[in-house]
């Protein structure tokens, strides 16, 4: 799965047009189009909505309504690393709140926010489906389980180390 963190790139009508054109044959394709746009840009740039509306013959207001209804879509760009903290039932019972507190402290961003340095975005999700390994977090598309505040601090430190080295793999 493509990692959903992309650096802000120039909004390209060519990219948007290619995506809408590919899906336009199917009815009800607005959602898959928006999903691909978000995969390309890391979020749905508000400026893209007009173009999508034009290409697909759907009013921009309707598209805006779809973007704001579904939790997956973001209108703001994401940080370099996207962390989704699971607050499902099993995770909640097994200490998700503590892991979340440790995480938000370590990266400098509350749930729903991006850190000042743009390195981390933290999101709250209801359930990742890894309940037997609660509490869980999905970091850049990979699931981490059996977390404790110490464990999540370690994971974050490792990433922060890598971030310090430019072009690090």
């Amino acid at each position: 799965m493509a990692v959903e963190t992309k650096v802000n790139s120039e909004l390209s009508f060519a990219t948007i047009d290619a995506i809408t054109h590919k899906h336009n044959v199917q009815p009800g394709a607005v959602i898959p189009v928006l999903q691909e746009i978000q995969e390309a840009y890391g979020h749905v740039p508000p400026a893209a909505i007009e173009r999508i509306a034009e290409n697909m013959g759907v009013p921009a207001s309707e598209i805006f309504g779809i973007v704001t209804f579904y939790a997956q879509f973001r209108l703001q760009p994401v940080g370099k690393n996207l962390v989704k903290v699971c607050h499902g039932t099993a995770c909640h019972l097994n200490g998700a709140e503590r892991v979340s507190k440790a995480l938000t402290q370590a990266v400098g961003a509350e749930e729903g926010e991006t850190s000042q340095n743009g390195k981390f975005t933290v999101e709250r999700v209801a359930c990742l489906g890894c309940c037997s390994l609660a509490p869980c977090v999905m970091l850049n598309g990979e699931a981490y389980g059996r977390l404790t505040p110490e464990a999540i601090n370690k994971v974050v430190s490792q990433i922060q180390e890598k971030e310090k080295v430019p072009e690090a793999k």
Partner: protein, 595 residues
């Protein structure tokens, strides 16, 4: 994972569980270590990836089958352990017993299970069509296309007694029949894979471990009702399930199991995937169809039911992942082989995702009618904490709690409904004494409030008002009138909400009030949370004679509420303390306690 699985006698086979849980536990690193180890030693041993083996609490799981037919399971495997497994077991034939899961434990976990839906999970490689075919895959489809007229297929499914496994329990055969009888040349089959209940992972596991079983079930349904197109609506939060489904669909298409003129039987059926976009309400069938149509996922009134007028106004049959996965087995083995399991009105088996405080969390499949206590205490091994088993929560945010005193209740649709809870899609959360019932009710209501689509007033505002009351109670500001008001609101929201989300959102509140009213009262009148969960009602304290003054807790405190001098006992400022409990979990000396 199975004693009844597909064993190749005559060869060594090493399998690694690589569904999402296995991978989250580090499965890929174990896989790499095994691959390198086998290669370095020049061993020509088959290394296979499989899906969910079921004993998720023991991930990473590695199964080793020997040429003589013996089977051994290693649990909690780390990459560093692979060296010894390769040398001692694979080369010298001696399992590393200290890492092997004992036969007793496996037996405790497996003995009462009957794995029909999970028949291939943890046994086959989910990315191999050949494995699925070797396990008897697509034979049901061939039988149906070659030998069984559509009505006969429907009659067989009806006779099996299969009921919708998504939670509502509507008889599947009856639903298919309704769709078949509806006039219209264009019909659809939809698989609801929007498993949104927090704590449920049954569907995810089936999709990641045996995707073809769902595809086959869908095609059979399409044939039975006269549809030519199908959709699998899967949550975006399940990237691995999406990936494996896409692969399976491509494989099936290549070999002619879906597509035009399937297997030369003059029947066309194609399936495409639509991903959800993070809305729990889209698990409700009418909202789901809105979503596929490219709109906001807001439910509508029924009738008309999807079987008469569904996707784009056409007859549509929607079933859950688990329901479809049952179908090929029922066709091959016959309705009577299925309906010998279960009770009079609830036939067959049910998959449960056992989580929470269970000692053995994982994926289990049991015959309907098994008492709750057997699942919790025998299969689940009791609580992981050693604290007393207090209650189970079934059915996710639409379900309810069932106290331990009712643990003899058989697990079937009617008996569970009688307790006030619902069977649900299969999430089974075990709770012990450290769980606060007010907190659990608040947790679920918080979820449904957030996910409410906003269309109907009772759900939109009613759940909000209920949540405000619960927050007051949990915050130590509960009033005497609150309980009566909560109950009244709950009943009204149940009765007047447009869709299943609103109609069932009050269930966690109603069941916790019914069985644990004393906890609510303690929160209101005594401002006490027995389970020490509700943050406003607890205080954390450092025990001076146990504290050496290392300062570790102060370092981690997110509110800067701990202070002190090195080598002297520290103290917590209760005004600043946000009751997160991080200090207590950080302290290695047990010097911090909570009242």
């Amino acid at each position: 994972m199975l004693l009844e699985g597909n064993k190749k006698v005559g060869n060594w086979v090493v399998k690694v569980g690589l569904a999402s849980c296995g991978i989250a536990a580090g499965g890929r690193k174990v896989w790499d270590a095994l691959q390198t180890g086998l290669h370095n030693r020049g061993l020509n041993i088959e290394l296979k990836q499989t899906g969910c083996m079921g004993m998720c609490y023991k991930e990473v799981l590695v199964e080793v089958s020997s040429p003589e037919g013996g089977q051994v399971f290693y649990g909690r495997v780390q990459p560093e352990q692979v060296e010894r497994i390769v040398t001692e077991h694979l080369i010298n034939g001696k399992p590393v017993t200290e890492w092997v899961i004992s036969a007793d434990e496996i037996n405790s976990f497996m003995a009462k299970q009957k794995r029909i839906v999970l028949r291939n999970c943890g046994v086959i490689d989910p990315e191999s069509l050949d494995d699925y075919l070797d396990a008897g895959g697509y034979k049901a489809l061939e039988k149906v296309l070659g030998d069984m007229p559509p009505q006969q297929v429907i009659d067989e499914v009806t006779k099996s007694g299969l009921r919708g496994r998504g939670g509502a329990g509507f008889p599947t055969g009856v639903k298919w029949n309704l769709a078949r009888k509806s006039p219209g040349s264009q019909k659809y089959v939809i698989c609801n894979a929007d498993e949104g209940d927090p704590g449920a992972f049954m569907d995810r596991s089936v999709l990641e471990s045996d995707p073809h079983s769902v595809i086959e079930g869908m095609v059979i349904a399409g044939y039975a009702i006269g549809a030519t197109e199908g959709f699998i609506y899967v949550r975006a939060e399940y990237p691995m399930a999406v990936k494996r489904l896409e692969l399976a669909l491509a494989q099936a298409k290549e070999k002619g199991f879906i597509g035009d003129n399937m297997l030369n039987y003059n029947f066309d059926f194609d399936i495409s995937i639509r991903q959800g976009a993070g809305a729990f309400v889209c698990g409700e069938e009418t909202a789901l169809m809105m979503s596929i149509e490219g709109k906001r996922g807001m439910p509508r009134v029924r009738p008309p039911f999807p079987a008469q007028s569904g996707l784009w106004g056409r007859p549509t049959n929607i079933n859950n992942v688990e329901t479809f996965a049952n179908v090929p087995w029922i066709i091959m083995n016959g309705a009577n082989a299925y309906n010998i399991y279960g009770t009079e009105k609830s036939k067959g088996t049910k998959v449960f995702a056992l989580a929470g405080k269970a000692a053995r969390t994982g994926l289990v499949e049991v015959p309907m009618g098994i008492p709750i206590k057997e699942i919790v205490l025998e299969i689940g091994g009791g609580t992981s904490t050693g604290l007393a088993f207090k209650a189970v929560q079934m059915g996710g945010p639409s379900g309810g709690v069932i106290p331990a005193s009712l643990a003899d209740t058989p697990v079937d649709y009617e008996s569970i409904t009688q307790t006030g809870a619902i069977m649900g899609s299969g999430g089974l959360i075990v709770m012990d004494e450290s769980s606060c019932m007010v907190d659990i009710a608040k947790f679920f209501l918080n979820f449904t409030q957030d996910e409410s689509c906003g269309k109907c007033t009772f759900c939109r505002l009613g759940t909000l008002r209920m949540m405000e009351i619960l927050e007051r109670i949990a915050g130590g500001k509960g009033k005497e009138e609150d309980l009566a008001l909560l109950e009244e609101l709950a009943r009204d929201v149940k009765r007047a909400s447009l869709c299943g989300l609103g109609q069932t959102a009050p269930n966690p509140v109603l069941t916790t009030l019914k069985y644990f009213r004393n906890e609510y009262e303690a929160h209101i009148y005594e401002k006490k949370c027995q389970a020490k969960k509700c943050q406003a009602l607890i205080t954390y304290e450092i025990i001076s004679d146990k504290c050496p003054g290392c300062g570790l807790c102060a370092k981690y405190c997110p509110a800067d509420a701990i202070s002190g001098k090195k080598k002297e006992p520290y103290s917590i400022n209760t005004e600043k303390c946000i009751r997160c409990g991080l200090c207590m979990s950080t302290c290695r000396l047990g010097a911090i306690t909570v009242h």
